[in-house]
């Protein structure tokens, strides 16, 4: 498994990247999904645009407005280990420990995982639960896409080929919020078959599911029930009802219940 021939560019600025991106040019960040796809000759872009030398994409910071901003090159491991993330958005740390294995997290990026949009990946589900705002840029400007509108299907997002996911913005969680993440994979670090990411606060509930379709989904009935004071078992059952396969429904129900228990619901 060697990749087919491709051109390689490693620009220094976002503008230069955007000038290159298009139908046949793919951005390369951590490469933990793209490089295996190249090696299997499943992805055959004419050009790879390496982001790793670009200034201004590596940031990971909390702004004055209280929002967390994750730059396109922020690695899983950095996000996983930063105390400010653990305090403000503990869901990310809870989920990141399930992302592949340590070497993959050392190189792979949070934004890259989201742009790749594997339905079995942990981070897109978290973005749905956290109501992330995806900052997408092209040579014609920047637009902000809500996570709800970003993840469309299997390996498919709302981005055009000439666009780059430059930043993920996570608004601060409601006061008193607690989070939980649970997933089922055949072995640790494997792709998940089912999973749940939850955020619970007084008057607030977000339940996002992995494995319920080709993109992460929210479970609005379960969220409403939880806000109305239903016990977590009932909310979990409502969330599981979104899945038709009987075993997966049972598993998802259990996972939602576990995630809610972790969040203190």
């Amino acid at each position: 498994v060697k990749p087919p021939p491709f051109a390689y560019e490693a620009p220094r600025s976002v503008e230069a990247v955007l000038a290159l991106l298009g139908e046949d040019a793919r951005p390369l960040a951590g490469g933990q999904s793209l490089v295996p796809m190249l090696n299997f000759r499943v992805a055959r872009p004419a050009m790879l645009v390496d982001l790793n030398r670009v200034e201004g994409l590596s940031h990971l910071r909390v702004d004055d407005d209280g929002a967390l901003r994750i730059g396109a090159l922020a690695r899983h491991a950095e996000v996983e280990r930063w105390e400010a993330v653990a305090r403000g958005w503990p869901l990310l740390r809870q989920a990141l420990r399930h992302v592949g294995h340590a070497p993959i997290r050392a190189r792979g990026t949070v934004a890259g995982s989201c742009a790749h949009a594997d339905p079995a990946a942990e981070l897109p589900v978290c973005m749905r639960a956290l109501d992330a705002r995806m900052h997408v840029r092209s040579h014609s400007g920047t637009r902000v896409v809500a996570a709800a509108d970003f993840f469309l299907s299997h390996l498919t997002t709302a981005m055009r080929p000439d666009e780059l996911l430059v930043e993920i913005e996570l608004p601060p969680l409601p006061a008193g919020a607690r989070t939980g993440f649970a997933e089922h994979a055949r072995t640790h670090g494997d792709w998940a078959d089912a999973g749940a990411a939850v955020v619970v606060a007084p008057g607030h509930a977000a339940i996002a599911l992995l494995g319920a379709g080709p993109a992460p989904v929210r479970a609005p009935d379960a969220e409403a029930a939880l806000r109305d004071g239903a016990p977590r078992q009932d909310a979990a059952r409502l969330a599981g009802a979104l899945i038709s396969d009987p075993w997966k429904r049972a598993m998802t129900t259990a996972l939602v219940e576990r995630a809610l228990a972790e969040a203190g619901a």
Binding site: V1, K2, P3, P4, P5, P36, N39, F40, R41, H184, R186, T187, H188, G189, D190, W191, P246, W247, K248, A250, M251, T253, A254
Partner: protein, 689 residues
């Protein structure tokens, strides 16, 4: 203190862990070309034509015509074999499995070779594939044996218990995939082949057959090998194509396969179904066993393809004194890559099928499974089984007692969890045939040992050095081992079937004894110093030796989700005398990890068209450290009378005993036997049907 039995740390680890090992892909020869193979996308098809642009250096079956023969066919004694089913080097006119090599492309780098391979056009006429061994119209191998009054025993039995089971195919997944380099020597007309293989002897013999030349004209060098688990028991068929191309072009040709090729093209293990019947009297004594095994042998008979199902059938008496037995193997021809030995190679199959039947008997007779086993154990050795193998030594009851004690209290079933405990015995054949060793004591006191048995992870550089140093009375640091180069080491048999210490180690003992005898009455060191060195060699021969063991597992299953937790696993292995307890422990733990992978997640899945649907490590789930349950291990040492070390083999016990113990525990928890892998979804469906 004796070096035999000492926990000497692995001497090879410093070099290997620092990245100083030299594996096949670390070797580059001047002017070498790189090969990539065009592999069939169909499980069964006629090949109408193979075309490539002029610029592509292409070899097809017609380019090899007259220069290679199919790989040799071999099988166990008494087996009926399809002699025409030797694996062709490149497919000629038809393909019989998805992944079969159809053409070889050469280029200046592997990446360029893969680019060129994409330009090769093959016209296929696809045919229906045979996927299920039970529906296969052809058999590649048939074998049967009956001894004792089986029919009489079944007719007179108070109870006849029947059970069935199936083990899926598994992929060995060595960390280092297969590979070879062929280099011609224009001056001598000889050929040198580097190959990632378990030893040099079998690749040499196979290549000599396929290339039809005396084996002196081929030198085989096995470098460091990053794992095999049985899957590198000979030369890969691809190596023969490399040899022809290298000689035709006068340049070395290298092929280091990738993971995808390894999944598709390396022979797989297991893939056996069986029906087993036991005849018992009212007291629970097993009077006879009957078993029929359907083995999914795949498309061709590689030299070792027929061995595992035969071993499985021969071990269908297990640890029990069963006076009559009738076994039959149907080696079905399917349109899949051939099967062959994989850690255990027939032994886990036998233990799984037989121990499931014994548990079923315990259920039908209302006798505790441990007690039923106890009533039937072999208790005196040597013991010749009804099928004709002689167990050399053992203490099966002690293994059973220890395993039960180590396991401790069983988990309790409740509203949330189903729970169960399972035990299983095993007896495994190890060693046998012969092995060689060649020792040279240099004038300075350094001992160079050349062994016919070479390592691929077992730790020969440590255990063999312990054996040699102890026997000669020198320090272990003065012993140097040489392996794997057919121009340097004596002809031997090789490393498989848990045979290295018992056979290779015993050959070293004999060679050292010959060295001492040659020097007597002086000391070998004195003679070596005076005469510029002292040399001796040995060829050690012995009957097979039989390791044994008992495993016990307790499990609980979440009723809501089907999630299986192995609460504890106890394993007791009797591999005769242990040369190095540290390495023995590593072998047991590694074997258990593979056995549990088979229990929990592993299976090569072929769809109805014969495609392997999980041919990557993203889809084929190997067990990780996170899934390992608490292990409670014990060792019993019943020395073998058949070799000077009293050794048997420890390489496979963990892979043999863990599977039936966990399978029986899962069956106890569910109240019904299920075939592995015991995925959560499978168990949930059983709980909720």
């Amino acid at each position: 203190m004796s070096l035999i039995g000492a926990p000497v740390p692995r001497r090879e680890d410093d070099r290997i862990l620092r990245g100083r090992g030299r594996f096949l892909d670390d070797i580059d020869r001047p002017r070498q070309l790189h090969a990539a193979f065009v592999r069939s996308p169909f499980a069964r098809a006629r090949i109408e034509a193979v075309r490539a642009p002029e610029a592509v250096t292409l070899f097809t079956a017609s380019d090899l015509s007259g220069r290679v023969r199919p790989f040799p066919v071999a099988g166990p004694p008494g087996a009926e074999l399809d002699e025409s089913a030797g694996h062709p080097v490149l497919a000629d006119g038809e393909v019989r499995y998805a992944g079969q090599p159809v053409a070889m492309v050469l280029a200046e780098s592997r990446a360029l070779a893969e680019d060129a391979a994409e330009l090769v056009e093959v016209d296929y006429d696809p045919l229906d594939a045979v996927v299920s061994p039970r529906d296969a119209p052809e058999a590649l191998m048939r074998w049967a044996k009956s001894a004792g009054d089986v029919d009489g025993a079944f007719a007179a039995a108070a109870h006849v218990v029947a059970s069935r089971g199936a083990l899926p195919r598994l992929v060995a997944v060595p960390m280092e995939t297969r590979g070879a380099i062929a280099e011609p020597d224009p001056e001598t007309g000889g050929l040198t082949v580097w190959v990632s293989s378990q030893d040099s002897h079998r690749p040499l013999a196979q290549l000599a057959h396929v290339l039809d030349r005396p084996d002196e004209r081929i030198r085989v060098i096995v470098p460091d090998v990053g794992g095999a688990f049985g899957s590198k028991g000979g030369a890969p068929v691809e190596a023969a194509a490399l040899a022809v191309a290298a000689e035709q072009l006068g340049r070395p040709v290298k092929w280091a396969e990738d993971r995808l090729e390894n999944f598709l093209g390396a022979y797989q293990g297991r893939g056996v179904e069986a029906e087993v019947e036991l005849a018992l009297d009212d007291a629970g004594t097993i009077l006879a066993v009957r078993a029929r095994l359907w083995a999914d042998l795949g498309a061709y008979l590689l030299p070792s393809t027929a061995i595992p199902p035969h071993t499985a059938a021969m071990l269908m008496c297990g640890a029990y004194a069963i006076p009559a037995a009738a076994v039959e193997v149907i080696g079905a021809r399917t349109d899949k890559v051939p099967t062959g030995p994989y850690r255990g190679a027939g032994r886990p199959e036998a233990a799984f099928f037989l121990e499931r039947a014994v548990d079923e008997a315990a259920r039908v007779l209302g006798i505790d499974p441990v007690e039923l086993r106890r009533r039937n154990l072999v208790r005196a050795w040597p013991y010749e089984t009804a099928l004709g193998w002689t167990y050399d030594s053992g203490d099966y009851e002690r293994c059973l007692d220890m395993a039960v004690e180590l396991l401790g209290d069983p988990p309790v079933a409740d509203e949330r969890y189903a729970a169960g405990t399972g035990v299983a015995m095993y007896v495994e054949r190890a060693g046998g045939m012969w092995e060689s060793a060649d020792v040279t004591l240099e004038p300075g006191g350094r001992l160079v040992v050349r062994s016919g048995s070479s390592p691929h992870g077992q730790g020969h550089e440590t255990t063999f050095a312990q054996i040699a140093a102890e026997r000669l009375g020198i320090g272990i640091e003065d012993v140097v081992l040489c392996f794997g180069d057919s121009a340097v080491v004596p002809r031997g048999v090789g490393t498989f079937a848990s045979r290295s210490v018992a056979m290779g180690g015993s050959a070293i003992v004999q060679a050292i004894d010959a060295l001492i005898e040659r020097a007597a009455p002086e000391s070998p060191l004195a003679v070596a110093a005076r005469e510029g060195g002292l040399h001796a060699s040995a060829r050690f021969e012995s009957p097979m030796v039989f390791g044994s063991g008992a495993y016990a597992a307790s499990v609980r299953i979440d009723r809501a989700t089907g999630e299986l937790e192995i609460v504890a696993l106890a394993g007791v292995d009797d591999a005769g005398r242990i040369v190095n307890p540290l390495l023995a422990h590593g072998q047991v733990v590694g074997g258990i990890a593979q056995g549990l992978g088979e229990c929990l997640s592993e299976a090569a899945e072929h769809d109805e068209s014969g495609q392997l649907t999980n041919a990557t490590l993203a889809d084929y789930s190997l067990l990780t450290a996170a899934e390992m349950p608490p292990l409670r291990l014990g060792i019993v040492e019943s020395p073998s009378p058949y070799n000077p070390l009293g050794a048997k083999g420890i390489g496979e016990g963990g892979a043999i005993g863990s599977l039936p113990a966990v399978a029986n525990a899962v069956a106890a928890a569910l109240g019904v036997a299920v075939d592995p892998p015991f995925t959560d979804a499978t168990l949930w469906r059983v709980l909720h049907r």
